[in-house]
């Protein structure tokens, strides 16, 4: 377990707080909140994620998936892709990612290596 200096902690938190104030994050958080507040959308996403995880685990275990299961997966995904709240959230996520990529680049330029890649699991 690594111990961060107070100065480093404060700098990381300050950056996070500035990011939270950006339009991209505000739009994303609002879109995400609208999605979570909608019972139909929430249930759709929950069903999709459960099915996706179950199919993935079975496929990784070497099990063959049936056409009916694949059809159900594609039907749910297609329902989500057409749902206005998911469209709104995905568009907000795209904007957020382009904003974060620029900030990640600022950080990486200062370091001389890619912060985002190293900060993720190997």
């Amino acid at each position: 377990m690594i111990t961060l200096s107070d100065e480093l902690k404060q700098a990381a938190q300050a950056l996070g707080e500035s990011l939270r104030a950006t339009e991209a994050v505000q739009i994303y958080l609002a879109a995400q909140a609208r999605l979570r507040a909608d019972p139909e959308a929430y249930s759709l996403e929950d069903r999709f994620l459960r099915l996706y995880q179950s199919l993935l685990a079975r496929q990784r275990a070497g099990e063959e998936l049936t056409q009916a299961e694949m059809d159900e997966f594609y039907a749910l995904r297609s329902q989500m892709q057409r749902h206005p709240l998911f469209i709104e959230r995905d568009m907000a996520l795209t904007l957020l990612r382009s904003t974060f990529a620029v900030v990640g680049l600022d950080l990486s330029n200062e370091l001389g290596l890619d912060f985002s890649t190293l900060a993720q699991e190997a």
């Binding site: 300050a14 996070g16 950006t22």
Partner: protein
């Protein structure tokens, strides 16, 4: 967007950029990061490491293009990889990389918590210029 909103947006963006640079500068000064840079430099300047890496690359490339005997290339790769990983400079690099990854992950967790959204995973640039 009105003038005031545009100004506010620009100010926030400038603040984000400045804070990212400040954080980068602080990270650059940490023992963990300096050790990692030294270890990276150590393997870059090590002739044996570079020779082994070139040989590994040549076998990988042969496998990729379907040249020669696949089993021979795989056996050679395993042997070269083991030789590489046994070198003290490579072990030092691996250790330093683990530590710097831990440092970056801890920093990323703080940024993400304050931002309300995961930072590093969303800050990665896509493969195709996105």
């Amino acid at each position: 967007m009105d003038f005031e909103t545009t100004m506010e947006t620009s100010l926030i963006e400038a603040q984000v950029s400045q804070r990212a640079q400040t954080l980068g500068a602080l990270l650059r000064e940490t023992v963990e990061f300096r050790t990692f840079l030294q270890a990276s430099q150590g393997i870059e300047e090590n002739a044996l490491v570079q020779k082994l890496l070139e040989q590994i690359e040549s076998h990988r490339s042969a496998l990729q293009w379907g040249l020669g005997d696949t089993a021979e290339h795989r056996a050679a790769l395993r042997k070269l990889q083991a030789q590489l990983e046994a070198l003290p400079s490579v072990q030092a690099y691996r250790q330093a990389e683990r530590v710097v990854r831990d440092l970056f992950r801890a920093v990323d967790a703080l940024i993400s918590e304050a931002a309300g959204v995961d930072f590093a995973v969303n800050a990665r640039r896509s493969c195709c210029g996105g």
